[in-house]
């Protein structure tokens, strides 16, 4: 058995928390600033990506004969879920390699190790905030009348999405340190997850195509309930279908707790292999 104890005077818990938050925000701002520093469009890139995908997916919908109402309806249907989806997949794809990317720090300096995947999610959150501005404008201009009470569900949906992304990202990060395949596969993996989630199509449209057994399997995917929730609130102006949202809760919690636990245990030994 081994133990490692540091005793320090004059360091109160509140100071410790302030140090932790300083590091968190400095690292996030490092990643955001350095990403856009030598680009012309800068943070506009984070808005462009979901906007372009929105156009592509709307075109896809009309090509495959999935048409609900007019073009604006289709634009709204895809964009309202694309923005949270981009946050989700960006979070995973940034949290995954975050440990390796910060290897030089972890190898040398004792820092709270959970920091790095969390920073990955935070930078994805920055892109999300930029897109959210556009989304707000679109909902006001093109969407159904906004239901203020339904809007209260948004924080709940965001928390669930964040926990899920963090959990998955931490699992990829933990194993990726030992085997790079996990990180190399993560982009591909989120791509497949995109098709397995109601983004190009709606849940209703999917259910029309699936047998009863497959519908149950489909609902195991925790992003289904969360993304449909976003769609209800933002595109339809109604509260999320609570039964549907409830199906996402167990998987979300499992992913989060599993990811956090694996990461906490394995991260002790990251410095040995980085």
């Amino acid at each position: 058995m081994s133990s490692y104890v540091i005793t320090t005077q004059n360091i109160t818990n509140s100071r410790r928390i302030r140090r932790f938050l300083s590091l968190l925000f400095t690292l996030a701002s490092r990643d955001i600033r350095s990403r856009y520093r030598r680009s012309v469009l800068g943070p506009i890139w984070s808005i462009l990506q979901p906007l372009i995908l929105m156009v592509v997916f709307t075109l896809l919908r009309s090509l495959t004969g999935l048409r609900e109402g007019g073009v604006t309806t289709d634009l709204m249907l895809t964009y309202t879920v694309l923005v949270p989806w981009q946050f989700f997949s960006n979070s995973i794809n940034r949290a995954g390699p975050s440990v390796i990317g910060n290897g030089s720090i972890m190898r040398k300096i004792r820092v709270p190790r959970e920091m790095f995947p969390v920073v990955g999610v935070m930078t994805a959150g920055f892109d999300f905030a930029m897109s959210a501005l556009v989304l707000t404008g679109m909902v006001i201009a093109l969407g159904e009348p906004v239901n203020l009470l339904a809007l209260l569900w948004l924080p709940v949906l965001m928390i669930m999405l964040t926990l899920l992304a963090l959990g998955v990202g931490m699992i990829i990060a933990s194993f990726g340190v030992y085997r790079r395949d996990f990180i190399l596969a993560s982009g591909f993996f989120t791509q497949i997850w995109l098709y397995a989630s109601p983004i190009i199509y709606t849940l209703e449209e999917a259910q029309g195509q699936l047998s009863e057994t497959w519908q149950t399997v489909y609902l195991l995917n925790p992003t289904v309930g969360i993304l449909e929730g976003f769609r209800s609130v933002l595109a339809d102006g109604t509260a999320p279908d609570l039964d549907l949202l409830a199906t996402s809760v167990p998987a979300t919690l499992i992913f989060f707790l599993l990811g956090w636990g694996i990461y906490r245990y394995m991260s002790q030994y990251f410095a040995d292999v980085l």
């Binding site: 540091i6 320090t8 400095t26 520093r37 040398k108 300096i109």
Partner: protein, 403 residues
């Protein structure tokens, strides 16, 4: 306060995820080459460092020095044993860890500071001191990718040296930077120890350890084989290491021979001899010795400049000898065909270590005809009678003691 700054008790360390013995083999087979070494990087290491004390850790590559530092820094857990650290730790292990090239010097100071455990406010408070220390001035507003490596080092040191830590862990970092800046860092380190900081210093550079540390532990294959005051341990290390190292390094050094030639002549052999004319590669301090250069000149080379130099194994040029035309009595001399040039040095001035000999021959007007490094190696043996000799060279001296 009575407790030591650092207490290490029976620490064992094996790298990698701790996997139960029974699972180790099947997992190794399953995953092929996955790194699960069975070797102990540290074995039963115990020591204490008091406040205001500097401890040196010495040993050859792979002896466990850096592992010990990582365990002390808390970046990797010991497999067994306990580590107690009393005070804020400042790990000066690779100071540039975390520097981002896209950001400016100023932004990087904040970044490094927060990584080292400070709040944004605390860094703002001492920003001016840090900026001053780095001497980077207007460069601080430029992105770090434009910096030279020396400037990057200054950035790291600037932050590192101005943090009030009670425990400093230092790993060879003082090898970078120019001389005045290094001196500034040494002074700052000394001031910190005087204020009561405990220092752990890891280095290959035994002279640096001897200068900076009060106590030293000598690690070999993860075990402490000797611990005590710095002079005793460093001397013992010198005896063992010089001997051990002479065998390996003299081979390595002579393998490293590089010759550049215009083709007019060849160096057949370069060797070191004692005064009886016997070719040898080991000398005692103070012995007279000769360097002999055997050459074969394909063309007649008139009035050349003939030089030989001696370097340490760390490639520091200690001295050179030169024969220039004005030194030669007859107005005219030349190298032609096979011949020998000898330099005689009446007293070996170098302290125990291994050295290499290089040769350069130039034409009268300075054009290089042939030059080579590491053409011969010789070692100076450790001699207990000369145990008080420190540094690189020993000068003869006389003395006066006025009561």
């Amino acid at each position: 306060m009575s407790s030591s700054a650092i207490e290490v008790n029976n620490v064992w360390k094996r790298y990698g995820l701790p996997i139960p013995e029974g699972l180790r083999k099947p997992l190794n087979r399953l995953s092929g080459k996955i790194a699960m070494p069975d070797q102990w990087a540290l074995q039963d290491v115990s020591f204490k460092v008091e406040r205001g004390d500097a401890l040196g850790i010495i040993g050859r590559n792979g002896a466990g020095k850096s592992t010990m530092l990582k365990v002390l820094a808390g970046v990797t857990p010991a497999t067994r044993g306990t580590v107690r650290m009393h005070g804020t730790i400042f790990p000066m292990i690779e100071l540039n860890a975390g520097i981002n090239p896209e950001l400016t010097g100023r932004e990087n100071i904040y970044l490094l500071g927060t990584i080292m455990g400070f709040t944004t406010q605390e860094i703002s408070d001492r920003y001016d001191v840090i900026a001053d220390f780095t001497e980077l001035e207007e460069w601080l507003e430029k992105p770090v990718w434009q910096y030279s490596s020396g400037m990057k080092a200054r950035l790291g040191f600037g932050v590192a040296m101005n943090i009030d830590a009670q425990i400093l862990l230092i790993d060879e970092v003082l090898a970078v930077g120019d001389l005045p800046f290094k001196k500034k860092c040494y002074n700052r380190l000394e001031a910190l120890t005087n204020e009561g900081a405990a220092v752990v210093f890891v280095s290959h550079n035994i002279r640096q350890v001897e200068r900076l540390c009060d106590h030293v532990i000598y690690l070999k294959k993860g075990e402490i084989i000797l611990a005590g005051d710095s002079q005793t341990v460093c001397q013992e290390y010198n005896i063992r290491a010089v001997r051990e190292y002479q065998e390996t390094i003299s081979e390595e050094l002579s393998d490293g021979a590089v010759i550049r030639s215009s083709g007019e002549m060849e160096l057949v052999r370069v060797e070191t001899l004692d005064l009886t004319g016997r070719v040898t590669e080991t000398f005692n301090p103070g012995d007279p010795f000769k360097i002999r250069i055997c050459y074969d000149a394909h063309e007649r080379i008139e009035n050349p400049i003939i030089g030989a130099n001696i370097m340490t194994s760390e490639m520091i040029k200690l001295t050179n000898f030169q024969i220039v035309p004005s030194m030669v009595e007859q107005p005219f001399y030349a190298l032609e065909g096979e011949g020998v040039i000898e330099f005689t040095i009446p007293h070996m001035p170098f302290n125990p270590d291994c050295y290499t000999v290089g040769v350069t021959i130039r034409s009268e007007n300075g054009r290089r005809i042939i030059s080579g490094q590491s053409l011969a190696t010789f070692c100076v043996e450790y001699d207990p009678d000369y145990a008080t000799r420190l540094g690189l060279v020993h000068l003869d001296f006389s003395w006066d003691l006025n009561p």
